[in-house]
C-alpha cells in the first residue's frame, strides 16, 4: 500500500544516539529490594489507598482506587508485604513528595488470579471500565488515562499508533516493536475496535528499520485496515499533533483535539499494555525502560513499576564521571532531583549524563533576533516573541502569542545561537499563568462567599425583626380580645417597644388582679392600727408638701 505522507513545519535533527541501547534484547530487571509505588500514576489524579501497612499483597492486587474523572487504579507490582504508606519523592521536576505504598517483595512474584476479558460478550462501557481497573494510562509520558481518551471517541476515522520515538537516546518503544510486534498490533486492533476507527496507521521513524520490518511482518496477516508507515526522522515527529499531521495531513488548530477531526493517537507502549489487560487480564505493573548514556551496560529492561532509579542504575552501571541523571529524553526530560524516585507508568528512559556527553550549556547571550527558533518551531509559533514576553513577565501578551500551543519540545532552544534556555522561560510563564488563574478562581469564590455571608446576616436580622413584629401583633390581638386596649397603640410600628408595652400592661393587670394576702381578714385592732399609721404618713406627706414651696 502506498501512503502519501505530509510534513510539518520546523523540526530539528539532533544526533540520535539510538545505537547505544538498541542492540540488546529487553532484559527483565531482577526483583528490587523494595518497591515505592506512588498513588499518583495518572495526570492530575491521586488514587485512594486501599491497603494498610502489614498487609500481604499479590502481584497485580488492587492497592489504589482511582478517584475522579481522570483517576485510574494502581496495583501492586509484585507479591510481598506493605511496609509503609508515606510520602516519597516522585519523578517530577519539583522533586516534591507524593503518597506512595512501599512494598517489600517476598521473592515469589506470585500473580493474583486474573482472567482475560472477552470483548464479544461485554459492552464498550464495560471494556473501558476494565481498562480503568487495569490502570492503563498513556505510556508516552503524560500519563493521560486511556479509557478517557477512548471514551471521547465518536466518529473516529483513523487511529494513529505512535511508534515514532523521536527523542534521542530512547529506544524502549523500538525494542518493544522489534520483540513484541504481534502483541502491540493486537493491542492496536483492540483499541481500534473500542474506538470504532476504520483504519489504523502505525507511524515509525525511518531510523528504526528493524522495528518497521518486524511490525510490517506482523501486520501482513491483519488485512488492509492496518498500515505500518515509516515516517522521516525529524524531531519532534513523535509529538501527537506532528505525527497526526504527517500521517493524515490533518492539522489540528488551537484548542481542538484530534477527535474533532476523526483522529485519535496512542503510544505503542499503551497498545501493548491494552493487549495484556484485555487478552490476559493483567493490570499494568511493569514497563520497558531504557538505561543509557554514560553507563557500562546500556540497554532496555522490563522494570516493575515502583522500582527506585538507584536500584535500576546498578543494572546499567553508571561510569565514574556521571554527574547527573535525566529522566526522559535530553530534549524534554527533567533532571532527577533524587535517585530514590520510582519508575512510574510514564518513565521511558533514564540517561546518565557526564560533562563529556552533555557539556554544560555555554552562558546565555542576548537574543540577536535571527529567527532560527521560529523556523525550527513545529507548532509554528514565534518563540522569540514568547521569550521576550515571558522574560518581561508580560503574560497576557505571551498568551496572545499562543504560549499554550507550545509543546515544550525544545527545538527552539536547540537551534538558538545565543543558547537561551527558551523552554525554561515558557515553563515559567505557563506556571505563573496557571497560578494566577487558580488565584483568580479562589478570590472569586471568596468574594461570592463574603457577599453571601453579608446577605445572610442581613436576612437573619430581618427575619428576627419580622418574628418580633409577629409576636407583638399576636400579643396585641390577645389583649384586644380580653377587652383591654393596648397601652400605647401609637407605638405599634416599633415591634420591640410594642412588646415591652404589652409586657408592662400584662404586669399591671396581674398586679391589679392580685391583692396582698397580709391585708385579708384582719382583726379590728390591727385594722385600726393600720388606719392610724396611714393617717400619720398622710400627715407627714402633707407637712413635706407644705415645706417644699
Amino acid at each position: 500500500m502506498i501512503t502519501r505522507l505530509f510534513g510539518f513545519k520546523g523540526g530539528v535533527k539532533p544526533e540520535s544516539h539510538k545505537n547505544e541501547s538498541s542492540g540488546t534484547p529487553i532484559l527483565t530487571a531482577p526483583l528490587p529490594k523494595r518497591l515505592v509505588i506512588p498513588l499518583r500514576q495518572s495526570i492530575r489524579s491521586t488514587a485512594r489507598c486501599l491497603v494498610e501497612p502489614g498487609q500481604k499483597v499479590l502481584k497485580g492486587e488492587h492497592i489504589g482506587e482511582g478517584e475522579g474523572g481522570l483517576g485510574t487504579s494502581v496495583h501492586a507490582s509484585t507479591s510481598g508485604t506493605v511496609v509503609e504508606i508515606a510520602p516519597y519523592p516522585m519523578a517530577h521536576a519539583s522533586g516534591l513528595e507524593t503518597l506512595s505504598v512501599v512494598i517489600e517483595p517476598d521473592g515469589e512474584d506470585r500473580w493474583i488470579d486474573h482472567t482475560p476479558l472477552d470483548l464479544r460478550t461485554v459492552s464498550r462501557e464495560e471494556a473501558l471500565a476494565w481498562l480503568r481497573g487495569c490502570g492503563i494510562v498513556g505510556m508516552g509520558g503524560a500519563g493521560f488515562p486511556t479509557h478517557v481518551k477512548l471514551g471521547g471517541g465518536r466518529g473516529i476515522d483513523t487511529l494513529v499508533i505512535n511508534g515514532a520515538e523521536c527523542e534521542p537516546w530512547i529506544t524502549c518503544d523500538d525494542r518493544l516493536m522489534r520483540e513484541r510486534a504481534p502483541e502491540v498490533l493486537s493491542g492496536a486492533m483492540i483499541l481500534r475496535e473500542l474506538i470504532g476507527a476504520k483504519q489504523v496507521r502505525v507511524g515509525i521513524e525511518d531510523n528504526k528499520p528493524e522495528a518497521i520490518a518486524a511490525m510490517q511482518a506482523a501486520a501482513s496477516g491483519l488485512g488492509d485496515a492496518i498500515a505500518v508507515v515509516p515516517v522521516p526522522t525529524l524531531y519532534p515527529a513523535g509529538g501527537e499533533k506532528q505525527l497526526i499531521r504527517v500521517l493524515t495531513g490533518v492539522e489540528i488548530p488551537q484548542g481542538k483535539l484530534g477527535t474533532d477531526f476523526g483522529v485519535q493517537c496512542f503510544n505503542v507502549g499503551t497498545a501493548h499494555a491494552v493487549h495484556r489487560a484485555i487478552r490476559f487480564g493483567e493490570p499494568l505493573v511493569s514497563r520497558v525502560v531504557t538505561l543509557t548514556g554514560n553507563v557500562a551496560r546500556p540497554g532496555n529492561y522490563e522494570v516493575l513499576l515502583g522500582t527506585q532509579v538507584v536500584e535500576l542504575l546498578e543494572l546499567a552501571g553508571p561510569k565514574a564521571d556521571t554527574n547527573r541523571y535525566i529522566m526522559g529524553g535530553p530534549m524534554m526530560g527533567t533532571e532527577l532531583q533524587s535517585l530514590s524516585v520510582p519508575v512510574t507508568k510514564g518513565t521511558n528512559c533514564v540517561i546518565s549524563a557526564s560533562p563529556a556527553l552533555f557539556p554544560p550549556p555555554p552562558p546565555e547571550l542576548p537574543c540577536i533576533r535571527c529567527g532560527a527558533c521560529a523556523r525550527a518551531c513545529p507548532a509554528e509559533l514565534q518563540p522569540f516573541e514568547l521569550y521576550w514576553f515571558s522574560r518581561a513577565k508580560n503574560f497576557g501578551k505571551a498568551q496572545e502569542y499562543h504560549l499554550f500551543d507550545c509543546i515544550e519540545c525544545g527545538s527552539c532552544a536547540f537551534v538558538c545561537p545565543s543558547r537561551i534556555p527558551l523552554v525554561d522561560y515558557y515553563r515559567f510563564a505557563k506556571g505563573e499563568i496557571w497560578a494566577r488563574e487558580r488565584e483568580r478562581l479562589a478570590s472569586d469564590q471568596a468574594r461570592d462567599r463574603f457577599e453571601f455571608r453579608n446577605f445572610r446576616q442581613e436576612r437573619e436580622k430581618e427575619e428576627k425583626a419580622a418574628k418580633l413584629a409577629a409576636k407583638a401583633a399576636e400579643t396585641r390581638a390577645k389583649l384586644a380580645e380580653s377587652g383591654e386596649a393596648p397601652a400605647q397603640p401609637a407605638e405599634a410600628e416599633d415591634p420591640k417597644k410594642a412588646l415591652v408595652a404589652a409586657a408592662l400592661a400584662r404586669a399591671k393587670q396581674q398586679q391589679a388582679a392580685v391583692t396582698p394576702k397580709n391585708t385579708d381578714g384582719l382583726s379590728a385592732d390591727v385594722q385600726a392600727e393600720i388606719a392610724d399609721i396611714d393617717a400619720r404618713r398622710e400627715k407627714l406627706n402633707q407637712q413635706d408638701a407644705d415645706k417644699a414651696p
Binding site: 517530577h92 516534591l96 534556555p421 515559567f428 478570590s443 462567599r449 463574603f450 457577599e451
Partner: protein
Amino acid sequence: MLTALLIMTGIAIVLGAALGYASIRFKVEGDPLVEKIDAILPQTQCGQCGYPGCKPYAQAISNGEADINQCPPGGEEGIRKLADLLGREVKPLSEEHGTEKPKSVARIDEQVCIGCTLCIQACPVDAIVGAAKQMHTVVAPLCTGCELCVAPCPVDCISMVPVAATVETWKWKYPVHELRSAA
C-alpha cells in the same frame, strides 16, 4: 428665520428624547470602576486596609478616600495593577497596614478548641464549621488566610500555617543564569 428656529428646536427635541431614552435604556448599574478595582483586590476580606472588606476598600479608592497601597495580601503586584488601572504612580506598601506574607491558612488545634463559636462569627467567608460546645475546624480550601479568627479565640488554638506547594501548584522558577565575570 422662523423656519431655522423651528428646525433647530425640532433637532433639539429629537436628540434630547434620544439621549433621555438611552440614559434609561443603557443605564449602568453601580460604579464600573469599583467593580474593576474589586476584581484586582485579592478578596481576602481581612480588613487590614482599614475597611470592612475588599468591596468597601474598592469603593474608598474609587472615591479618592483611600490610597492604593493599603492592601498587604495584594502586595507589590496588586499595587502595580491598581496603579495601572487608575493611572497613578506605583508606591511601596504602606507599613502601617501590614507587610506582605506568604499565603497561609488557619488551622485549629482540635485538642484545645472549646467550641465557643467566636471564630465562626469572625470568619468573613464562612470557612469554619462547628457548633457551640462542639469542636470547630477550618475548611482549608475556602480559607483566605485573613487571620481574623486568630484574635477572638479565647484559648489561642488557631495558628496560621503557610500553604506548601503540591505537584499541582508547583511552579517553574524564573530562569536565572550565572553571568560571566568580565575578564
